[in-house]
């Protein structure tokens, strides 16, 4: 049975990444990060390629991928908004911030808006604990969230 073109392409791009990184000591996490960077998620089709490349079983690779919160099974929205929900942010009202963002976007945590514009995720500490409540939008850090900043963020991800 011929393989789907998409998976052959994934396999060849994944193989190139594995080739480049496999000589590192303990190469699996760096490889998974690169794969996620390349595809926006860790595609199923890449798992057996990684397993072959590193002489692991596919189950071992699957076990590692699913252990870590960062690795996605499917692509995220165009933007990823992470709201800190840890104690320092809780003391400054992160619950209310999350409720407001959820209401404005119409989604809950670990969900993506139907138009694919944004994925909302909780995060447990961004190290911005003296600037709570905090968030990260596509890798950019935002502190002391208030209604004005929340509305700005929502407008930005919607545009």
């Amino acid at each position: 049975m011929p393989m789907q073109p998409a998976s052959t392409e994934i396999a060849s791009r994944a193989a190139a990444i594995i080739d480049e990184l496999k000589d590192l000591e303990g190469p699996l996490l760096p490889i998974l990060h690169e794969i996620q960077e390349e595809f926006g998620h860790v595609p199923q089709a890449a798992l057996s390629v990684i397993a072959d490349g590193l002489n692991l079983s596919r189950a071992e690779v699957h076990g590692v991928v699913t252990f870590y919160h960062d690795f996605r099974a499917r692509p995220a929205g165009r933007h990823v908004l992470k709201l800190c929900q840890a104690e320092a942010c809780q003391s400054m009202g992160s619950d209310a911030v999350a409720a407001k963002v959820k209401q404005l976007l119409g989604i809950g945590f670990h969900e993506t808006t139907r138009d694919g514009s944004v994925t909302l995720e909780p995060v447990y500490c961004l190290g911005l604990c003296a600037c709570s409540p905090s968030a990260m939008l596509d890798g950019e850090v935002i502190g002391r969230l208030d209604d004005e900043k929340i509305e700005e963020i929502v407008a930005e991800v919607r545009s």
């Binding site: 590192l24 000591e25 303990g26 190469p27 699996l28 996490l29 760096p30 998974l32 990060h33 590193l54 076990g63 590692v64 252990f67 870590y68 919160h69 960062d70 690795f71 840890a86 104690e87 320092a88 942010c89 809780q90 003391s91 400054m92 995060v123 447990y124 500490c125 961004l126 190290g127 911005l128 604990c129 003296a130 600037c131 709570s132 905090s134 990260m136 890798g139 950019e140 850090v141 935002i142 502190g143 002391r144």
Partner: protein, 518 residues
């Protein structure tokens, strides 16, 4: 001399708008045709004043803050390049009370220098410790670190020198230095600040550790939530390699040491040393049973020093100024300085490096200035998500490993989260269990199952279902988790839970009683 403007590139400052301020300053310089050099320094840690912009004048540095982009035009108009008065004027940064009261040993350069200028680093005393170390016998370096009294700043407080001695004394063809930069505890940001603000001090500390123990390879495992720290450390390692600080001949000596930066993947438990090692090896971040100690069988089964960022970053000054100098600070068995991170609902939040021994009350009320909301302080969680909640009644506890342990608490990585009187301690206790359930690696039952059962039982308490009986059950469960878990995640989750129950019993009364009591 062209004027120099310092605008922090630290994540905390960026989160408060430092990038926009930098853009506004660049634009203003261009429009006015003024020449100036912009340095993106780290943060000095007074986050209530960030973004804090500094200018170098003939009389020294002058700080302005917190600067908003809309202030920039008027700053130029009033002549801030010469240090002139302005509504944001703060004067000499080291005279700002929050900073003037500190004893900066580990963080001496953080926020002062250009983080990626090795010359700047050397001009401020950098590499002196490493220069001394390459001229010494490994055992003598270990002896000096042991005598300094330095204890692991990650939370466990294990004597650093003793750990190093075990690795030195274990024969092997290969040894490793692993830096734990998986700073996942809420209220802590000291590791992030030093990696972003003074990365060479960590590199220097790791190189010294390598020479002291015979390890030739180092890894820094940084959490993925810290992209700026990862970027700065990667650049700093490149620079250090290029200038012979790392490589086959460290500072021209016969000692070889090189290192790599690795990025975590969002698992809190990887801050636990053995699961961090598994993660570095490319496995699930599952905790390992001890023994064997990582010092004997660590990364890839080889003898491994695994230290926190601040422990390693404190080594250069010990090797520069001597064990006695460092040991002179502190109290009891807690020697040297500790970077206390004051966070949460607090007026003057930030990093405060000081000798051990200040009381919790002094830190929260005098230095932190009380709550940001202006309401009374109800509780302070010390030591991150696994630390105990302390009420005002315990504010006389001195900041010291043993003193906190005696009050059923821990100082952990020295982060403090302040809560005002709107905090619901039952909710906080439930969160501690919930967080443990989310982050448990799943290897041991007390942590994996206990945390989920803990959430359920606390929910029953909240709903007023047999509150007394269920509280007794939580206490029993906490006892099992404390003594039956493999690592600190399950073992310490009882601290926030039990301290909430013990010190704030009114929050655990059944709902009707709580309403009636109000």
């Amino acid at each position: 001399m062209i004027p120099r403007i310092y605008i922090p590139g630290d994540s905390g400052a960026l989160a408060l708008g430092a990038e926009k301020v930098a853009k506004a300053i660049e634009k203003e310089l261009a429009e006015r045709g003024v020449e100036a050099k912009i340095v993106r320094n780290g943060s000095r840690g007074a986050y209530f004043l960030e973004p804090m912009v500094e200018v170098a004048t003939a009389e020294g540095r002058v700080a302005y803050g917190p600067v908003k982009p809309s202030d920039v035009k008027s700053l130029f108009d009033s002549g801030f390049l010469k240090g002139a008065p302005h509504k944001r004027w703060l004067g000499a940064p080291d005279k700002i009370p929050f900073l003037a009261k500190q004893t900066r040993l580990t963080f001496a350069r953080c926020g002062v220098i250009d983080p990626l200028s090795l010359d700047n680093y050397k001009a401020h005393g950098g590499l002196k410790g490493l220069h001394n170390a390459v001229a010494m016998a490994p055992a003598d370096i270990v002896k000096q670190v042991t005598e300094s009294g330095l204890r692991g700043r990650g939370g466990a407080g294990f004597p650093t020198g003793i750990k190093w001695k075990t690795v030195l004394d274990t024969a092997s063809d290969r040894k490793y230095i692993v830096c734990n930069a998986d700073e996942g505890d809420s209220a802590t940001f000291a590791d992030r600040m030093i990696m972003e603000g003074d990365p060479f001090v960590l590199i220097e500390g790791m190189a010294i550790a390598g020479i002291a123990t015979g390890a030739t390879k180092g890894f820094v495992y940084i959490r993925s939530e810290y992209p700026h720290a990862v970027a700065t450390m990667n650049k700093a390692v490149e620079i250090a390699r290029k200038h012979g600080v790392l490589g086959v001949n460290v500072l021209g000596s016969p000692n070889a040491f090189d290192m790599e930066i690795r990025v975590g993947a969002g698992a809190y438990v990887c801050g636990e040393e053995t699961s961090l090692l598994n993660s570095l090896e490319g496995k699930r971040g599952v905790v390992r049973a001890k023994p064997p100690l990582p010092a004997i069988q660590g990364l890839f089964g080889k003898p491994t020093v695994i230290n926190n960022v601040i422990s390693l970053a404190s080594v250069p000054i010990i090797m520069d100024k001597g064990a006695a100098f460092y040991k002179d600070f502190g109290m009891g068995r807690s020697r040297g300085t500790i970077p206390i991170q004051i966070a949460g609902n607090v007026k003057h939040g930030g990093l405060f490096e000081t000798a051990f021994g200040l009381t919790l009350g002094e830190i929260v009320d005098d230095i932190g200035g009380g709550t940001a909301s202006g309401r009374p302080v109800k509780a302070v969680q010390v030591g991150g998500p696994l630390g105990a909640y302390f009420p005002r009644a315990l504010f006389d506890t001195p900041f010291d490993y043993e003193a906190f342990a005696a009050k059923d608490g821990l100082i952990g990585h020295a982060g403090l989260t302040v809560f005002d009187d709107t905090a619901d301690m039952l909710k906080q206790a439930r969160f501690a269990m919930e967080f443990c359930a989310i982050e448990s690696c799943g290897k041991c039952t007390p942590c994996r199952i206990g945390s989920t059962r803990g959430v359920e039982v606390l929910d029953k308490v909240a709903s007023g279902i047999e509150a007394e009986k269920n509280l007794a059950l939580v206490t029993d469960l906490c006892n099992t988790m404390k003594f039956g878990s493999l690592c600190a995640l399950g073992g310490f989750t009882p601290y926030p839970v039990m301290s909430s129950i013990t010190h704030f019993p009114e929050d655990f009364k059944p709902a009707p009683t709580r309403v009636a009591a109000e």
